[in-house]
């Protein structure tokens, strides 16, 4: 299972990462070997096993619709590198400002 450079570029784009050519090559090798390792699972015959979403015992976990105290805005923003008007301030990530 060998990823192409185009696939690496696509994954980087989804994560909004700007990679150099060396990094693309480096991640291509690393990601490929991780995928190859995970691909061993494909060898197991799962034909008669229904897809499993969770291995926890089946039970219904639901919450009543009752409001609880939120965090204070000071706590929320205390680790924010940049803030303004009680809001997080971030650079624009999309090319057209969206």
């Amino acid at each position: 299972m060998q990823l192409t450079i185009q696939e690496v570029e696509h994954i980087a784009e989804l994560a909004k990462l700007d990679l150099s050519d060396e990094e693309k090559e480096q991640y291509r090798e690393q990601l490929s070997s991780i995928l190859a390792y995970a691909a061993m699972l494909q060898n197991v015959d799962t034909g008669d096993i229904p897809p499993t979403a969770s291995v926890l015992p089946e039970r219904s976990v639901l919450r009543e619709d009752v409001v609880q105290e939120p965090l204070s805005p000071e706590t929320v923003l205390q680790n924010a590198p940049h803030q303004k008007e009680q809001q997080f301030k971030v650079p624009i990530v999309m090319e057209n400002g969206q």
Binding site: H10, E13, L14, A15, K16, A53, S54, L56, E58, R59, S60, V61, L62, R63, E64, D65, V66, V67, Q68, P70, L71, P73, V76, L77, H82, K84, E85, Q86, Q87, F88, K89, V90, P91, I92, V93, N96, G97, Q98
Partner: protein, 478 residues
């Protein structure tokens, strides 16, 4: 010139009116709150926290699915929709993908022209909202209050055939959401959001052509307006021999025009997978029965029933079933009154609706209860008060909260039906009008109206006019 058919599908996001968010206990409605005041570690995606599903979200979702005639899945799943965007602190949105709460369904839209458009429902699932971002120069400010607010996303099939039909769909959907009590459905406040997929095709074709997607429209009028603009634009393009491109368009309300946002060159790649932090959602039959136990008669069913049961004109029935409280009010008043339902309708359509509009109240909040309205109608019918007193009583009851009967008594608004009091006045009038009496006796019997008028004036409108006429005739024909 080719005739074109318009093909529209609507994607709506409905904000449920639960008290708390979908996966945490933060207050859901932040409309009046400062930024970043209704958030916690769960909805801001801090490490080590787990989402817990809000029961009320499921219940409201089930009500909507039922109203849409959808099949409700007894077991559904939540999935992660992965994308990177600053309003999404976790880096993924918890949504439902392939096995959502419900599948299929439809909504029938009665058109003002008289036909009904059946709109199929392609998708109906629960999900969490993202935060809000706004531009500040070359930076963006982020408010996470809206993160985790419960939404139902509902997508129609490409079944709508005009901008008008799209507008009617939204009008009926809004009515239904409020009727079910599951969303405030206020488009200006973003409780009901709508994106429209629009394409055209030569009439008679059943192919689907390239569509564009209109986003960010915040009122029903604007949805209609934007679709009309876009249909005209697509026809112009095709007529000029050009292709329609799969653009995403943004509606600019101020300029009344569409703007191209971004072309969809890269196919969205959300890498959905099952949400490992949530268990499958299992509905039991008992719970489902409990949720649906009070499932109401829906607006269009109630409208037809009002027409057949109470013989209301369609116009009245449509307005009286526009809102659930109003239609309950009407029906209670009709039962209490036990007279002609159309009379109740007239009072509601002329006076009570104005009262509601002016006060911003809903019908169930009026001090003028259906029982009081019925009481007023009965007093008018019995000749205890005249019609104009009846109308003025509506306001008086509403402002004081007192019963119509007690207001009539303390303010002396009742019609005098005391024979001797009216007789005394009538005798006085007859004695004071020798000329008119002569003319009457000479055969001009229509003058009786004038005599009655004189008595009514003398008694400041409080005489029972029927009784007054009867006494006058007696005196004049002596």
């Amino acid at each position: 010139m080719t005739d074109y058919e318009v093909v529209i599908g609507l994607e709506t996001h409905i904000q449920l009116n639960t008290k708390t968010k979908i996966f945490c206990a933060c207050k859901a409605d932040s409309w009046d709150d400062e930024p970043n005041t209704n958030i916690c570690p769960v909805c801001t995606g801090l490490p080590g926290v787990l989402p817990v599903l809000n029961k009320a979200v499921v219940e409201k979702g089930v009500l909507l699915a039922k109203a849409m005639h959808s099949d409700i899945r007894m077991r559904s799943f939540f999935d992660r929709k992965n994308y990177f965007y600053p309003d999404l602190p976790k880096g993924y949105q918890i949504s439902q993908y392939d096995l959502s709460l419900a599948s299929g369904g439809y909504l029938d839209i009665p058109m003002p022209e008289g036909y009904t458009r059946r709109v199929s429902i392609h998708k109906l699932h629960m999900e969490e909202d993202a935060g809000k971002t706004k531009n500040a120069g070359n930076l963006r400010l982020i408010d996470f209050n809206r993160c985790g607010v419960p939404l139902v996303e509902m997508v129609t099939g490409p079944d709508l055939r005009s901008a008008n039909e799209a507008a009617q769909y939204l009008i009926r959907l809004r009515q239904l959401l409020r009727w079910l009590g599951i969303s405030e459905a206020d488009m200006e406040k973003g409780h009901l959001r709508c994106d429209a997929n629009v394409s055209i095709r030569p009439k008679g074709s059943d192919q689907l052509f390239t569509k564009t997607e209109i986003k960010n429209v915040n009122s029903i009028d604007n949805v209609k307006n934007a679709i009309e603009h876009e249909v005209e634009r697509q026809i112009r393009e095709v007529e000029a021999g050009n292709r329609v491109h799969a653009w995403t368009l943004d509606w600019d309300e101020e300029k009344n025009e569409l703007r191209k946002m971004r072309s969809k060159e890269t196919e969205a790649d959300y890498r959905y997978f099952r949400e490992p932090d949530l268990l499958p959602l299992d509905l039991t039959q008992a719970w489902l029965d409990e949720i649906l136990a009070d499932f109401p008669e829906l607006p269009l069913e109630r409208k037809s029933r009002f027409i057949s049961e109470y013989k209301l004109p369609e116009y009245d029935a449509d307005i009286l079933t526009g809102e659930r409280n109003l239609s309950d009010y009407f029906e209670t008043a009709v039962q209490q009154y036990a007279g002609d339902p159309k009379k109740v309708s007239n009072y509601l359509m002329n006076d009570v609706l104005r009262m509601l509009n002016e006060s911003g109240k809903t019908a169930n909040q009026l001090k003028l209860t259906p029982a009081y309205l019925a009481e007023i109608l009965k007093m008018v019918d019995a000749g205890q008060i005249n019609t104009s007193t009846g109308k003025s009583l509506l306001e008086k009851v509403e402002s004081s909260g007192r019963s119509p009967k007690s207001i009539v008594e303390t303010e002396g608004l009742g019609l005098v039906s005391d024979d001797s009091a009216i007789r005394a006045v009538a005798e006085k009038i007859v004695a004071a009008s020798p000329k008119e009496v002569e003319t009457f006796r000479a055969g001009k019997e229509t003058l009786i109206g004038w005599f009655t008028g004189q008595v009514m004036r003398e008694m400041r409108g409080k005489a029972d006019p029927k009784l007054a006429t009867q006494i006058l005739l007696e005196l004049l024909k002596k």
